[in-house]
């Protein structure tokens, strides 16, 4: 029974592991880039909001609109629109490394918006107390805002990485590989329903692991209750 289920997939294991490796590679780099750009951008949005610590209402309106526009692009379209930029950065628009560019770029505005919302939940009174003690804006951001919002920031990273997993399945279109692409190639194109079911189950498990790890960290980091 069990061998029936695993029967056709056993010989595919090397390929599954390879695909998992590709997914891991895409997610790690895309996540890193998205966080490196998205967290500062989200912080900037928070700081320059009208009424905030360093308000710049006009610049905020511009960035706010830009973030909204980028967020409205369907990923598949963004992937194609970005081909020239990807080619410029990576040297090619095809392959696993090439997919990292649109993945990261599509996640930056999502990341920024979620970070902005997370920071907005930090108690204004605590920030004012820090101001009253003579803290600079930079000190307030690093020592108060990020500290108070740290569990929210981890939640944001969890959401974004699960999004990546689902977006990376589209990567197959430009030869990006990965576990989602594997499921489509074997399960869908070759009608190997058992392989597809197996791979989808694998993806479900990965999502569960990411979510549980995220939840665990959020619980550990949140001392507010």
């Amino acid at each position: 029974m069990l061998t029936d289920f695993f029967g056709p997939t056993i010989e595919l294991w090397p390929e599954i592991l390879h695909a998992l490796g590709q997914t891991g590679y895409m997610m790690m780099f895309a996540m890193g880039i998205a966080a490196l750009a998205g967290i500062p951008l989200g912080t900037l949005l928070y700081l320059i909001r009208p009424g905030s610590l360093a308000q710049q209402p006009r610049l905020y309106a511009v960035l706010d609109t830009a973030v909204n526009i980028l967020r409205s692009f369907p990923f598949l379209i963004l992937l194609i629109v970005l081909i020239p930029i990807t080619r410029f950065i990576v040297g090619t628009a095809i392959g696993t490394t090439a997919v990292i560019v649109p993945l990261a770029i599509s996640a930056i505005p999502d990341f920024a918006r979620l970070i902005e919302q997370t920071l907005l939940e930090v108690n204004r009174g605590v920030i004012q107390a820090a101001e009253a003690m003579g803290a600079s804006t930079f000190q307030i951001v690093t020592k108060v805002l990020y500290r108070e919002a740290r569990s929210g920031i981890v939640s944001t990273c969890t959401i974004i990485s699960i999004n990546f997993l689902s977006f990376s399945t589209v990567a197959g279109l430009v030869g990006g590989g990965g576990i989602g692409d594997f499921a489509i190639r074997y399960g869908y194109y070759r009608y190997q329903l058992d392989v597809m079911a197996f791979t989808v189950a694998l993806i479900v498990i990965i999502v569960q692991i990411i979510q549980s790890t995220g939840n665990y960290l959020v619980r550990r980091l949140d001392k507010r209750h």
């Binding site: 107390a129 101001e131 003690m133 003579g134 803290a135 600079s136 000190q139 500290r147 507010r224 209750h225």
Partner: protein, 262 residues
């Protein structure tokens, strides 16, 4: 030591412009515990917050020991704020920092080295008598304990002036008394000048040396409680509050009594 001169602050709301603080001047002497009492919406908290420029006044001057704070640049203002402690109604501790790290915060800002920080933090904790809570997170503390930690956090920077914005309004009567005793001790032993905003008679009546009564953005009357006999309250509300202090415990309540008599 502290002089407010012609402080004006207005806010523009949906129904037009309001002068929340309208041309207020007051003078706080070294070692005073100065109370500002008034009904909710009288502008007393806004006035207090203009002292460390959390609210920048539209016009007027804030003189602290010969320096006009309104004229300072950003950097100098931050340094000046380091000399002014502040505590709040809702404490405003950093929830994801332990008690120790909360008290450490003002010292980190000022760039005090780690070893000296430790000594000063423990010293401050001893003043508020909470040494056993060093590694606890604020969520595990009672309201009174949180306010004591907030006091320790304010004291650790060795301020000359302590601003208290409704410091006991979120606390029960017993805890209120305890916090007031701590404030009085700090004033006497550490020679820190204190300005307290409150709507509770008990607070100003029990520890303040001078009290200003604030009404609709202006100071209606200032009383020297140390020599109360020479300064008979003039306004009706002040008479009600200071001659029958025990009856009228809160300013809002006293106003209610006045209106009922009309």
């Amino acid at each position: 030591m502290l002089e407010l001169q012609n402080i004006l602050k207005s806010f523009t709301g949906a129904d037009g412009r309001h002068d929340v603080v309208n041309n207020v001047s007051l003078s706080v002497g070294k070692g005073d515990i100065y109370g500002i009492i008034g009904a909710s919406g009288a502008g007393k908290s806004t006035l207090l917050r203009t002292i460390n420029l959390l609210e920048r006044p539209d016009s007027g001057e804030v003189w602290l020991e010969g320096v006009d704070l309104t004229k300072l640049g950003k950097r100098e203002l931050r340094l000046a704020r380091g000399q002014i402690g502040m505590i709040f109604q809702h404490f405003h501790l950093i929830e994801n920092r332990t008690v120790y790290d909360n008290i450490s915060f003002p010292l980190e800002i000022a760039g005090v080295p780690k070893k000296e920080r430790r000594e000063r933090i423990l010293e401050s904790l001893a003043i508020v008598d909470l040494q056993d809570k060093v590694l606890v997170y604020p969520a595990k503390l009672s309201g009174g304990q949180k306010q004591r930690i907030a006091i320790a956090r304010a004291l650790v920077a060795r301020p000359k002036l302590l601003l208290c914005d409704e410091p006991t309004s979120a606390l029960d009567p017993d805890t209120t008394g305890q916090i007031l005793r701590f404030l009085q001790d700090i004033n006497r032993k550490l020679h820190i000048t204190i300005v307290i905003v409150s709507h509770e008679m008990e607070v100003v009546g029990s520890i303040c040396s001078k009290v200003s009564l604030m009404e609709r953005g202006v100071i209606a009357e200032t009383l020297d409680l140390a020599e109360r006999k020479q300064h008979e309250p003039k306004s009706q509300i002040a008479k009600l509050l200071f001659n029958h202090g025990q009856e009228a415990k809160e300013v809002d309540y006293a106003y209610g009594l006045l209106r009922a008599n009309d």
